[in-house]
């Protein structure tokens, strides 16, 4: 089991007059290699749930087991190391560090881990950038790349440490339809080739329909959790 949530609650402003609960007892289990879409209207708690799953925020109540270990109450340093080793992130905006080239952005996790980029780590980064179709843009800065290309770099970066799970927060939300389809097809291909699990937050039902499983949050509760029939054909691999 990759993820196991039991009775997860999240409250903000604890003890204050404006205390508010945004997640009301979420139960969720995610297997290794799943491709899951997380949907819901604005304010439904998707981003909060994704942040908790990504060990960026702490839950208020309940239990969260990641790869079988409870992460509740772990110190910040331990959460950071687990984040580094287990999770990859793809964000909607501000994906990359603007001062680093595409290749450097992808090797950042390796640099962060070892203090230097080893030859195998660089080779792997090149291979990933090649796989996402950016073999010719290795030394370009993010400002020289299109939105779709930047998101591809972010995907390569999320995969460079071989995490079993990638969390993607509206990865196509900032892209036009064509780029959006390309990026989503890329995620599916990586999932198929590498077996990496994906949890993708999206507002787009068209993209959600291309996932294996759909979890819908409404007002901080799981309103729907079901398998999705592949309604649309895969875009051809690039």
């Amino acid at each position: 089991m990759l993820i196991e949530l039991q009775g997860l609650r999240k409250r903000y402003n604890l003890g204050q007059p404006n205390e508010a609960e945004v997640l009301h007892g979420i139960d969720l289990r995610v297997q290794r290699g799943e491709f899951l879409a997380l949907m819901g209207p604005s304010g439904s708690g998707k981003s909060t749930l994704l942040n908790i799953l990504g060990l960026l925020e702490r839950m208020t109540e309940g239990d969260y087991r990641l790869l079988g270990d409870s992460v509740r109450g772990l110190p910040d340093a331990e959460l950071t190391l687990r984040r580094r080793g287990t999770l990859g992130f793809v964000f909607q905006f501000h994906h990359l560090l603007p001062a680093f080239t595409a290749l450097e952005n992808v090797t950042l996790p390796a640099l962060m881990h070892a203090g230097r980029v080893s030859a195998p780590a660089e080779a792997k980064a090149r291979e990933l950038l090649d796989a996402v179709g950016l073999a010719t843009a290795l030394h370009k800065r993010p400002s020289e790349l299109s939105g779709g290309m930047q998101q591809r770099v972010a995907i390569a970066r999320a995969l460079v440490m071989d995490p079993p799970l990638v969390l993607a927060d509206e990865p196509t939300g900032n892209l036009d339809t064509a780029s959006s389809d390309d990026v989503f097809a890329l995620l599916r291909r990586i999932h198929a080739e590498r077996g990496t699990a994906f949890i993708v937050v999206t507002h787009d039902p068209r993209l959600a329909a291309r996932c294996d499983r759909l979890v819908e949050l409404v007002d901080g509760r799981v309103a729907r959790d079901e398998a999705v029939a592949q309604a649309m054909p895969e875009a051809p691999p690039r």
């Binding site: 984040r83 964000f91 501000h94 560090l97 450097e104 996790p109 962060m112 203090g115 230097r116 970066r157």
Partner: protein, 409 residues
């Protein structure tokens, strides 16, 4: 355990600095200006003080030993429980010799910290030439020993220093007042006797008042003129460390029943002025460094806010709080170090400008100043540490950032 090389922190710190190019450049120039002021003021004050000390101590001993004062001994010891009203008139101080100075000389010479010892007979008299008669300070010395005290040979402006029997070295202004040139003769008179001497050299002792009244003759001649056969009124000492003179004087005072005076005691006002100058300089330097620290800190605080998203992304990717802290501490150190290098170069340029363009009334440079390498290194090290210190608060702020919030910024 594997040694951790902070390559990640270096890379990110350096890229962050390069990314905010104008901001980085401005703060480096700011640090450089501060470092230049500190280094220049340090060099200027060190040069000024060294010059003042050299001029002051160039014409006097570091420590001077004299015979104790003549005191009036009470006629009878008072009995216990009695009180007496008395008015004792102090005795006039006659010229006296330091008792047994010949035996004392090698003892002083062997004292640790003493560089040279010179006996002297010092008294007053008249210098006569033709109709002119001028009051003088008559110094009797052994030239070789006295030269080691005040470096007399370096002060010769005409003739060649020599003090054979019947010879004298006199101040430049006195020579002018008496119309004397090297080789001329003059008559020296004290209350008791007269003697004639031939001028071998004119000297500039650095102070016109001294030049106007100083006549230096052989020790034996002065002994005869002052009526102190075989005597020496002073034993002059130079020490290896001028600032240790006071401690050595205190020690000698405890060991010998003599009047001992250090150069600090005989120049109390100068020492106070030098101390006040040093304190003022230290205050200025401290204020400048505080401004430097605040400048770097303010830029880095802004940088933490500007880089909020990047900090969030790095934290999400697994950068630890420690790594985030080190990224900003390194930025502070780099700004401090680069600012120091530029600042030292600026200080050297300022010193060059000072020595090249600022001249005294005589058209010569006022005094020599340099930026010594140890001073430069010290200032650079302090500025770099200030950079790190300035980065502490921003670094802590960066490390404390909530990654989830930072990403949403």
């Amino acid at each position: 355990m594997r040694r951790y090389w902070p390559g990640f922190e270096w890379q990110v710190a350096w890229r962050f600095l390069r990314e905010g190019r104008m901001q980085t450049l401005l703060i480096i120039v700011g640090v450089a200006a501060g470092v230049a002021v500190v280094a220049y003021i340090s060099a200027l004050i060190e040069g000024l003080q060294a010059n003042t000390l050299a001029k002051t101590l160039g014409a006097q001993a570091h420590i001077s030993l004299r015979a104790p004062e003549d005191l009036v001994a009470p006629a009878a010891r008072l009995e216990a429980g009695t009180a007496v009203l008395s008015d004792t008139q102090p005795r006039a101080q006659r010229l006296r010799s330091v008792a047994n100075w010949q035996a004392l000389l090698p003892v002083l010479q062997a004292t640790p910290g003493v560089a040279a010892v010179s006996p002297m007979v010092s008294g007053s008299g008249l210098a006569l030439r033709g109709e002119a008669a001028l009051a003088i300070a008559l110094l009797g010395v052994e030239l070789e020993r006295y030269d080691r005290i005040v470096n007399l040979r370096s002060k010769v402006v005409a003739g060649r220093a020599s003090l054979q029997p019947g010879e004298a070295i006199i101040g430049r202004e006195l020579a002018a007042d008496l119309g004397l040139r090297v080789g001329d003769r003059l008559t020296l008179r004290t209350g008791l006797v007269s003697d004639a001497a031939r001028v071998t050299a004119l000297v500039d002792l650095g102070v016109k008042g001294l030049n106007r009244r100083t006549v230096i003759v052989p020790l034996r001649a002065a002994q005869n003129l002052q009526g102190l056969p075989g005597g020496a009124t002073h034993l002059d000492l130079t020490v290896t460390d001028v600032w240790a003179a006071q401690a050595l004087a205190d020690s000698l005072r405890r060991q010998h029943p003599l009047r001992v005076e250090s150069w600090q005691e005989s120049n109390a006002q100068l020492v106070s002025a030098l101390n006040a100058q040093s304190v003022s300089t230290t205050i200025i330097r401290a204020v400048v460094l505080v401004v430097v620290v605040l400048g770097i800190a303010s830029v880095l605080v802004v940088s933490v806010v500007q880089k909020g998203r990047e900090i969030g992304i790095l934290r999400a990717m697994g950068a630890t709080r420690g790594q985030m802290q080190r990224i900003f501490l390194l930025q502070g150190a780099v700004v401090g170090a680069l600012g120091s290098l530029l600042g030292i170069a600026l200080a050297v340029a300022l010193v060059w400008a000072f020595t090249t363009f600022v001249r005294g009334l005589d058209g010569l440079p006022l005094f020599a100043i340099t930026v010594p390498v140890p001073t430069a290194l010290r200032v650079a090290l302090i500025a770099t540490l200030c950079g790190v210190l300035a980065a502490v608060a921003p670094a802590r702020r960066a490390a404390a950032m909530d990654p989830a919030q930072a990403i949403r910024m």
